[in-house]
């Protein structure tokens, strides 16, 4: 059921309950006030009769039993009034005459009178009436005075009131429901408009936004929030498209070289040496394509989060040292020394394969940016967590793996983009020396997958410094 229908129904039900309760209360109140007015009149007459009896006389026959007497009370025109005087055994003393009427009181009621005055509503000669009975003295005897009046007029008033409530109540309920329906419709109109607009927005019109309602209410703030969400989605989409375009460009570049190399080699009249050179060059292009494909695959896995990590409890210091060793030959070729240090017990739960990969990317990067004969520092240690970054909120200690070179360092304007995909300091130069432009992006992905983060800065004494901060929990 729609919100609008639900609200309208709820409002109608509430109104119905209100009308029913107040109607019943009003009817009960009416009944009791009618009765008390009747009782007052009966008491007056009863007292007058008792006084007359005390004086020793019985009223003339039927003088108190007149259809018009009620008019003297003024209040309930048309009510029939009547009276009886009974002995304690129930014999009718008054009115006396040829047709002796039946006593107005039953035997139990006669007994009740001895306890005092009482009133009752009952049918007298088939008409609804109210009677009052009390004891009085007459000629040294105790007699019972009964006065009564028919209540048909009061009953008619009640019936009319009940009728008004029964007809007016449902009308009020219907009006309330309809009003709620129209009001909620008006209140929700901007919501319908927003929904229709959202339905029309596709991934292709990235600039499409919700129109802002002129009001400053909850619906306007919903529009603001939704537009912010659309902004974020558009930024993510733009980033994704940029990445795909970059990846296409990066893949096509070595493919272009490979294809050109092979086409030239296929021309007639190539010497053995030329062909060998072409095959070697083509192998180089192929290697670069393989690296690029592997790196893209790693990033795709990291983005999906599927089976990216296979963590184990390992000694990270051993990992650091062995990674440094595996690059020793490559470093030595340019006279570079790798100074690896891993202090203390660095046993932690990490994925050894991914950690090796990240370390490899860091060291490879550092060697490529080192001057010939320089030093690359590789450090693994546990430090007190300096800040409480999102990645290691609960850890008081972090496992730091840091690689520093003594090259020119990152240009300041490049620092915020160090871990972005296909970002390079010098486009042409770096591509030529073998970087895919994805190495540090992969380092950042691996650090994030471990619940940590990657940080890049320049050492105060020069040289680029990149470190992974991983959560460290001893045992």
């Amino acid at each position: 059921m729609s919100l609008r229908a639900r609200l309208s129904l709820l409002f109608a039900l509430g109104t119905a309950a209100l009308v029913a309760i107040s109607g019943l209360a009003f009817l009960a109140q009416l009944q009791s006030s009618l009765n008390s007015a009747l009782d007052d009149a009966l008491r007056t007459r009863s007292d007058a009769l008792a006084a007359q009896l005390r004086a020793g006389s019985l009223p003339a026959a039927a003088s108190l039993d007149t259809g018009q007497a009620g008019q003297q009370n003024g209040q309930f025109g048309g009510a029939d009034e009547f009276a009886q005087v009974l002995t304690r055994s129930g014999t009718v003393l008054y009115p006396s005459g040829a047709e002796q009427p039946a006593p107005l009181l039953s035997r139990t009621q006669l007994a009740q009178v001895t306890h005092g005055r009482f009133t009752a509503s009952e049918a007298v000669e088939g008409e609804p009436a109210r009677i009052m009975a009390s004891e009085a003295r007459w000629r040294a005897r105790t007699v019972i005075v009964v006065t009564g009046a028919t209540t048909d007029v009061a009953d008619a008033a009640q019936a009319r009131t009940r009728m008004i409530i029964l007809i007016g109540g449902p009308l009020a309920v219907a009006a309330a429901g309809l009003g709620a329906w129209l009001l909620t419709g008006a209140a929700l109109r901007p919501v319908y408009r927003m929904r229709r607009r959202l339905d029309e927005i596709t991934e292709h019109d990235g600039d499409a936004r919700l129109p802002m309602p002129r009001t400053r209410d909850e619906i306007a703030s919903l529009a603001v929030t939704t537009n912010r969400l659309l902004d974020r989605l558009q930024r993510a989409l733009t980033r994704q498209r940029g990445f795909v375009a970059d990846a296409g460009h990066e893949l096509r570049t070595p493919l272009t070289a490979l294809k050109a190399e092979l086409q030239l080699a296929a021309r007639p009249g190539r010497s053995q040496e030329a062909l060998t050179a072409a095959v070697v060059a083509a192998t180089g292009d192929t290697d670069r394509l393989i690296r690029l494909a592997e790196d893209l695959l790693v990033l795709a896995c990291a983005d999906d989060g599927i089976e990216f990590l296979t963590p184990a409890r390992i000694d990270v210091s051993g990992q650091v040292l062995s990674a440094a060793r595996s690059f020793a030959a490559q470093a030595r070729a340019r006279g570079i020394t790798i100074d690896a240090r891993a202090d203390g017990d660095l046993t932690a739960v990490t994925d050894p394969g991914r950690l090796q990969q990240a370390l490899g990317n860091l060291i490879d990067n550092a060697i490529r940016h080192s001057p010939d004969g320089g030093v690359v520092d590789v450090t693994g240690e546990v430090r007190e967590a300096a800040g409480h970054g999102p990645g290691h909120r609960h850890a008081s200690e972090v496992l730091m793996i840091e690689v520093r070179d003594h090259g020119p360092g990152f240009p300041d304007e490049f620092l915020p983009h160090v871990f972005e995909r296909f970002r390079r300091v010098g486009q042409a130069r770096d591509r030529a020396d073998g970087g895919t432009g994805l190495g540090l992006a992969i380092v950042a992905s691996i650090a994030r997958a471990h619940g940590g983060q990657a940080v890049a800065d320049n050492h105060p004494d020069g040289g680029a410094r990149v470190r992974m901060e991983l959560p460290f929990t001893p045992d």
């Binding site: 460009h249 070289a257 086409q263």
Partner: protein
Amino acid sequence: MKALVVEDEVRTAALLRRGLEEEGYAVDMAADGPEGVWRATEFGYDVVILDVMLPGFDGYEVCRRLRSSGCWIPVLILTARNEPAERVRGLDCGADDYLAKPFSFDELFARLRALIRRGAPVRPAVLQVGGLRLDPATRRAWRGESELHLTAKEFALLELFLRYPDQVLTRTRILEHAWDYAYDGGSNVVDQYVAYLRRKVDQPFHLVQLETVRGAGYRLRAAPEPRPG
């Protein structure tokens, strides 16, 4: 034939040079945008092969700068950016052809031959004659600084006149250019549309540039004259 290759990627540049040289071209290289513009304008080449992603400024900018400095050497854009939007952008910047990487040498050579055949006539991307300016790519036209709001037919007529300044265009020629073969409405529709065009191009500026040549047709003067009276 002499070719300039503007390409920053070392491997691709070397391979292009080898391939072109084997085909008989004399090849010069430039590794970034500014060097490309400088070489192309300073030395005579028969063709320029231009990469898009270049240090300095990109290939589109190289193209724009060449054309705006009056250098009409045929330019072939050779790039790994292969989206249709990129190709459109390249051609609208004044390039003559577009080839995507990875490319085939045979196709590259064929396209270069075709470009060189056409030579280097003045073929601006934006037409300009005596205060009138028209950009076919954005479909906008101006008289001086004020933009003209033309219908599609008026735009087609103005483009035709701007391509042949100071030449008499007969009604038949105009009809053939701006109306399709199936049109059968007589040639006074040309008079009607030329009148519309004058009302937007000449009259508001109190000039006479689009003039009637009695008994022959119409002519767009290279320089407008103030309207007599």
